[in-house]
């Protein structure tokens, strides 16, 4: 056991693997001799599709380019790399997609890293027994989980905490690639092993997880450096054109969180009521006073989706002012034409951009009539054939139905593309967003070790 260091520097070269790393920021960041490279590779924000389909919302070529830069830097400086929420949604398909890219790079460059792969897909038999024990509760909603949800879910992941990463580091891993992870854990697993303050460690990770987003100007994908001390930590962008200010850092504490004073994570929470943000230099902010509060039970957040059908869409514009003035009549006529042939078994949505396409029923703006509208016709049905058939009828009805005062009797729509109908594929919805109590924070997350 080596003596505990007084400080630890963590470099997050970007907020999302695959969103790009400025080469100058990478070089300047590495010149600061960080102890660890850590990067978040996923998010739940792009929606339920990716968890269901097993695909990444990030692009393979872009991910490969970023990972090459990270591995080159790690190899040259002999420092560990920790990556969480691999492949975006962090299921096994996503994790193996990223590991395949990783192995390609290592093979081409001759890198031999001792590597840990940590799965975040959770065993359903174990979840059923946890459910029977009353150890699963809804998060942010009131839908009680049932055995049926577990059975129907296409894929279920759990957000791992610090412990699975700590176990991988203790097992000698130089590179850790993990499935779905609580965003800040990659940045703090070493710090917790070295006994740094837990509240400061979590807060530091929270600021690093989005890379340069905690610096101003907030523009483009970029990195952030943090140095953790025994009583505080500092953050600073490697990019000399950016600055961390008290406002930029404090504002980032708000980001994607319901409550800036209190942030929960697997095993506890941090409390920011006594946090101090101090401008230490023109570009660096020092943070202290963030407190850790242990949770009565260690919980893991579960995320799961169910397939609810297949989507087909068509996109079209409307320029005719008479149609726009009678838009509600027009839509009613389309719906009744479609319903004559297909009374039920699908869901038809007409998104009308220029009217209330973004805010929907709560749109309060009452502007004068727009000169054009953008329409997206959307059908979701149980099978792809029904979805395509209903959308095709909707599209032809929309092109030809009448409305009061109509003069343009040859066609109602301007289609930008041929073909007009686009099969989007399976549609998933979040059905599992729950907390499960666990005894051993590592047990649900299987780890394999290999050397590239």
């Amino acid at each position: 056991m080596v003596a505990a260091p007084d400080s630890l520097t963590v470099f997050a070269p970007q907020g999302m693997l695959g969103y790009g790393i400025p080469e100058r920021s990478m070089r300047l960041g590495m010149e600061r001799r960080p102890d660890i490279l850590a990067v978040d590779a996923g998010s739940i924000d792009p929606g339920p599709h990716y968890l269901g389909s097993g695909t990444s919302f990030t692009n393979r070529r872009s991910v490969r380019k970023d990972l090459e830069m990270i591995l080159d830097a790690a190899h040259a400086h002999r420092i560990p790399v920790l990556i969480g929420s691999a492949g975006g949604a962090g299921g096994d398909a996503h994790l193996d997609w990223l590991i395949e890219i990783y192995r390609e790079i290592c093979r081409e460059r001759g890198y031999g890293f001792r590597t840990a792969r940590i799965s975040a897909e959770i065993d359903r038999g174990w979840l059923r027994s946890r459910l029977a024990d009353g150890a699963i509760s809804p998060l942010d909603h009131d839908n009680v989980l049932t055995p049926g949800h577990l059975e129907r879910a296409t894929r279920i992941v759990g957000q791992m905490g610090y412990e699975p990463f700590m176990r991988a580091i203790e097992a000698g891993a130089e590179v850790v690639i993990a499935g779905r992870s609580f965003d800040p854990v990659m940045m703090g697993a070493h710090a917790l092993l070295q006994g740094f303050d837990r509240g400061l460690t979590v807060h530091m990770g929270k600021l690093l997880e989005c890379g340069g987003a905690a610096a101003y100007p907030r523009h483009g994908s970029d990195g952030l450096l943090a140095t953790l001390y025994r009583d505080s930590f500092t953050v600073e962008p490697p990019n000399p054109d950016k600055v961390c200010t008290v406002a930029s850092v404090a504002a980032h504490s708000l980001y994607e969180r319901a409550n800036p004073y209190h942030m929960e994570f697997p095993g506890g929470a941090i409390d920011l009521h006594a946090t101090r943000f101090e401008q230490e230099s023109e570009r660096r902010v020092r943070i202290s006073g963030t407190r850790y509060i242990a949770a009565p039970h260690y919980t893991i957040k579960l995320e799961g989706v169910e397939r609810v059908g297949y989507r087909t869409i068509a996109i079209a514009g409307v320029r005719d002012p008479i149609l726009i003035s009678r838009f509600d009549d027009y839509v009613a006529n389309i719906r009744s034409r479609v319903a004559e042939r297909y009374p039920d078994g699908y869901r038809l949505t007409i998104h009308s951009y220029g009217r209330n396409g973004v805010m929907g029923p709560i749109e309060a703006a009452r502007a004068e009539q727009p000169f054009e509208l953008g329409l997206v016709f959307e059908v979701v049905a149980d099978d792809p054939e029904t979805s395509a058939a209903v959308l095709a009828l909707t599209r032809s009805a929309a092109l030809h139905v009448t409305y009061p005062g109509r003069k343009a009797i040859a066609g109602n729509l301007a289609f930008p593309f041929s073909p007009s109908d686009i099969a989007v594929g399976p549609v998933y919805e979040f059905t599992i967003h729950h907390l499960v109590e666990v005894e051993d924070p590592c047990a649900p997350f299987a780890m394999d070790l290999f050397t590239t």
Binding site: A247, A250, L254, A258, V358
Partner: protein, 119 residues
């Protein structure tokens, strides 16, 4: 950047401004698939304190601005360290579910940004 530059309205609008006129940022973004968080961030402590003192922005006011039930405004939190006010709304539709129109929740800020306050 605010949609409109600060102006000096006359008549009934004298001594008023929109939140977008006076704040540095007004943003919205999912806080998980079931909530949308709205942030109003000011450039200085003085502007933040002036806003907190006279905007009267509480849960009922936010419900009225958005035309949604009070129960769907989950929280209004003042966060002095960032010169910011954070509002959390319950989403009408879970992110990405059929019928949703804003998967990231990134364009739900406009009613707040255009809300007019005494200033």
């Amino acid at each position: 950047m605010p949609e409109q530059s600060p102006r000096r309205p006359s008549g009934a609008l004298a001594n008023t401004a929109t939140i977008g006129d006076v704040a540095a940022f007004v943003t919205s973004k999912n806080a998980g698939p079931y909530k949308v968080a709205l942030d109003i961030v000011f450039a200085t402590a003085a502007e933040y304190e002036r806003f907190v003192g006279q905007a009267g922005l509480d849960r009922a006011a936010v419900a009225a601005i958005y035309g949604i039930p009070l129960a769907d405004v989950l929280d209004v939190i003042h966060f002095a360290p960032a010169f910011a006010v954070k509002i959390t709304l319950r989403r009408r539709i879970t992110a990405g579910a059929t019928g949703d129109s804003d998967v990231y929740g990134a364009q739900q800020h406009v009613p707040l940004m255009q809300h007019r306050i005494a200033w």
